[in-house]
């Protein structure tokens, strides 16, 4: 342990800790900007590029960046000297002199860390007006907008993309004033190996990276004469409340339904219904593969960022992911067939809007494999944050809304579908059904706790009918790469694997309210989902009465011909570089 003092208070911290770590222990606040540590997922951005965190050390002339300076024995640090405070101010003033400062119309307005620090320091003028490095905005993808004129070169996005996701799209290009964060050869995002997971924008402190905003498209749809259906993913209901100042992890399903109705959607349905359906299809596919000597392990395919990742990085293994479409895509396909038939409508008369925790779903909805003729299964995708914007724009008093129920027939769901939103949830839900399908017996304890939680890779062996089924779960694409490499080299013997691109699963999706470096938020959202699951009488997907009805009336056999046509998809090999 190393002993030091900060502002005359003594503290001992392990060797290798930074001054910032020590200050945190003393509850002394040092402002930071570029720095971000997410211990739960081992994300450490230590570029020390902004110098906003400078402090003074007694007996030394130059200031030290607290976030990157390791402590040493007997150090005497002051965070509150005139010199340190003045330096911080100058640093932020310099940052602002190379910034467009159009906060009022910025995608990050109200959520920007640069804005916050400028406010905290009470900056009221641009002291050093000068040339601003401007770069063209990259609107090439369906998911992510890059506006590098707003970039402060903190490198958080690069660290996320390379060390956590191992996709390595983003890098610092050039030098000096012209330095820009971008892809190799300055390629637009849609020509790179980017998976559109959006985790880079989830940690970007400014408006340099943001999601493609589809709010106005949704308003246009609502104001058209088409029938507009909305569906909401499981993870949205445990995060939306945060945007309205409610306690983190609050379950706001009923209020969300109420708000969607007020906004003017013709039908408010639940992606959870389709998640139950996904389970039936996926469990059937798994059983089919096990019983017919099919390709094992089977990998889940609900996460479009993960799908694009394996299409680029493991294009030699395209036969291992499940062929199931993701739940919201299954939902879209059914809306335009089953539901349309019931209502006497044509597919073209219906617009399907998905509210997702995810920015990759925007890209996914535009995949050509996921459409029927000219009509996409899903027409428009908005994120949890965009829905919050719509609710605010419509000036709906969200917190005081009464709880409302989803519409039927596509609104009924079980506890199994709810937990889809958390890492491990899809495979747990699959097991609940596969167990009963294979044994014909009732599964008494439905909770598989070894598959839950924030550990990067989780493993379990489950005994079904005397057969040991080996399961693995990973979240974060770096962990996924690790598993896939083990499989490729024949060192792993799994039957089924769940993979989600985002740390924590979809509750940590890039379309969710920003966590601003506090991952305990994910645990609370996760608990919210497990609570909803426990509160349901039906907790296994195949018990969903509306699903049974759907197969009887329309689909026929699970994993059968019609199901294949509507609910399954194909993958394409993509370039690795």
């Amino acid at each position: 342990m190393i002993k030091l003092t900060i502002n005359d208070k003594e503290v001992s911290v392990p060797e290798g800790s930074t001054i910032l770590d020590a200050a945190k222990q003393l509850k002394i606040k040092i402002p930071t900007l570029c720095h971000m540590s997410l211990y739960d997922i081992q994300f450490f951005n230590q570029s020390a590029s902004c110098r906003v965190c400078v402090v003074e050390q007694e007996g030394r002339n130059n200031l030290l960046p607290a976030c990157a300076t390791p402590v040493s024995e007997g150090m005497k640090i002051r965070t509150d000297t005139k010199k340190a405070i003045r330096a911080r101010r100058t640093i932020v003033e310099l940052l602002l002199s190379d910034h467009p400062n159009d906060c009022l119309i910025c995608a990050k307005n109200g959520d920007c860390e640069l804005q916050k620090i400028a406010a905290d320091l009470g900056i009221r003028e641009i002291k050093y007006p000068g040339e601003i490095a401007t770069f063209p905005t990259d609107n090439s993808s369906k998911s992510i907008v890059r506006n590098m004129t707003k970039c402060i070169l903190c490198k958080r996005c690069e660290t996320m993309c390379s060390s956590i996701q191992t996709v390595d799209v983003l890098t610092e290009i050039g030098r000096g004033f012209d330095t820009v964060m971008g892809a190799a050869f300055n390629l637009p995002m849609d020509e790179t190996t980017c998976t559109f997971c959006g985790q880079c924008l989830a940690v970007c402190p400014t408006g340099a990276l943001s999601e493609v905003n589809n709010v106005s498209k949704v308003w246009d749809a609502i104001n058209s004469d088409k029938v507009v259906i909305v569906q909401t993913a499981p993870a949205v209901r445990v995060a939306l409340g945060e945007e309205f100042g409610m306690e983190v992890g609050s379950l706001v399903t009923g209020k969300m339904v109420g708000a969607l109705r007020r906004i003017g959607f013709d039908r408010v349905f639940d992606t959870d219904f389709a998640a139950d359906l996904t389970i039936i299809e996926e469990a059937s596919e798994l059983i089919h593969r096990i019983q017919h000597g099919g390709k094992l392990p089977m990998l889940t395919s609900c996460c479009p960022a993960w799908v694009k990742f394996f299409e680029h990085q493991f294009s030699d293994m395209l036969d291992i992911p499940s062929s199931c479409k993701s739940p919201h895509e299954m939902f879209g396909a059914l809306s335009k067939t089953y539901f349309a038939e019931k209502m006497g409508l044509k597919a073209e008369d219906i617009i399907v809007v998905s509210v997702m925790p995810c920015v990759a779903k925007k890209y996914e909805a535009a995949r050509p494999e996921l459409s029927e003729g000219s009509s996409s299964d899903v027409d428009i995708v908005i994120t949890t944050r965009e829905l919050a914007l719509m609710i605010k724009e419509a000036s709906i008093d969200f917190e005081n809304l009464d709880d409302k129920e989803f519409d039927n027939p596509l609104g009924e769901s079980t506890g199994a579908s709810v937990i889809f939103g958390a890492t491990g949830g899809v495979i747990e839900a699959t097991l609940r059904t596969a167990y009963e399908f294979l044994t014909g017996k009732t599964l008494e304890n439905v909770e598989f706790s070894s598959l839950r939680g924030m550990q990067g890779i989780k493993e379990a062996t489950i005994d079904i009918n005397g057969m040991s089924i080996n399961i693995a779960v990973s979240h974060g694409l770096g962990n996924a790469r690790h598993l896939l490499e083990k499989i490729r080299s024949g060192k792993a013997n799994y039957h089924a694997i769940e993979i989600m691109a985002c740390p924590g699963g979809c509750i940590g999706g890039a379309g969710q309210p920003f966590h601003h470096g506090d991952l305990s938020i994910l645990d609370k959202r996760m608990n919210g989902l497990y609570k909803e699951d426990r509160g349901k009488t039906l907790r296994k997907s195949h018990e969903n009465p509306m699903i049974k009805k759907l197969y009887d009336e329309f689909l026929g056999e699970p994993y059968g011909e019609k199901a294949h046509e509507l609910l399954h998809t194909t993958y394409v090999a993509r370039k690795k570089i």
Binding site: D168, R175, F185
Partner: protein
């Protein structure tokens, strides 16, 4: 601007590069020497060449590009048949070299460090070339032009152009 790099035509050099990578891949910090070798072989770093390097060294192509663009010694376009170097050293700068550079850029419609799409001309600004008494100095290939003024630039370029129609500004 895109200059198609013909891998087939350059196969021999590509092999050389691959052998160099193979031999040195374990050496720490090998990326820069490999980039230098590649530039030596091809005269510039084409996208395709950087992809070969990334694959060969098993590093992300973004990193190869990031490192290459950090160092001013690397260029990303082939040099033109005629390379126009404009000295921006102190003596030349004081005597208006910047203006001359701008004039060349205007006439050719490309920026410093770039090459015309027909590969006839490229512009390279340089540091002091050691002829300060003749400032400002322009070099075209091996020909030295001393005491250049803005008005002469047109005529100098005209000496090297093959088809007049290519450059509307002439």
């Amino acid at each position: 601007m895109d200059f198609k790099f013909d891998i087939e035509k350059n196969m021999e050099k590509v092999r050389c590069l691959e052998t160099f990578i193979e031999k040195n891949r374990q050496v720490p910090g090998v990326l820069i020497p490999v980039l230098q070798e590649a530039q030596g072989l091809f005269g510039y770093l084409a996208r395709e060449v950087m992809e070969i390097i990334a694959r060969g060294l098993d590093v992300p192509v973004s990193k190869v590009f990031g490192v290459a663009t950090y160092y001013t010694q690397f260029t990303f376009m082939p040099k033109g048949e005629n390379d126009i170097s404009i000295c921006l050293g102190t003596a030349c700068y004081v005597k208006g070299a910047q203006e001359i550079l701008e004039e060349v850029q205007n006439i050719l419609g490309i920026k410093d460090g770039e090459t015309t799409p027909d590969l006839k001309f490229s512009i390279t600004s340089t540091r002091c070339v050691g002829d300060c008494s003749l400032a400002p100095v322009v070099l075209v290939n091996d020909d030295i032009y001393p005491n250049v003024n803005k008005k002469e630039v047109k005529d100098i370029i005209a000496k090297y152009k093959v088809e007049v129609e290519c450059y509307d500004h002439l």
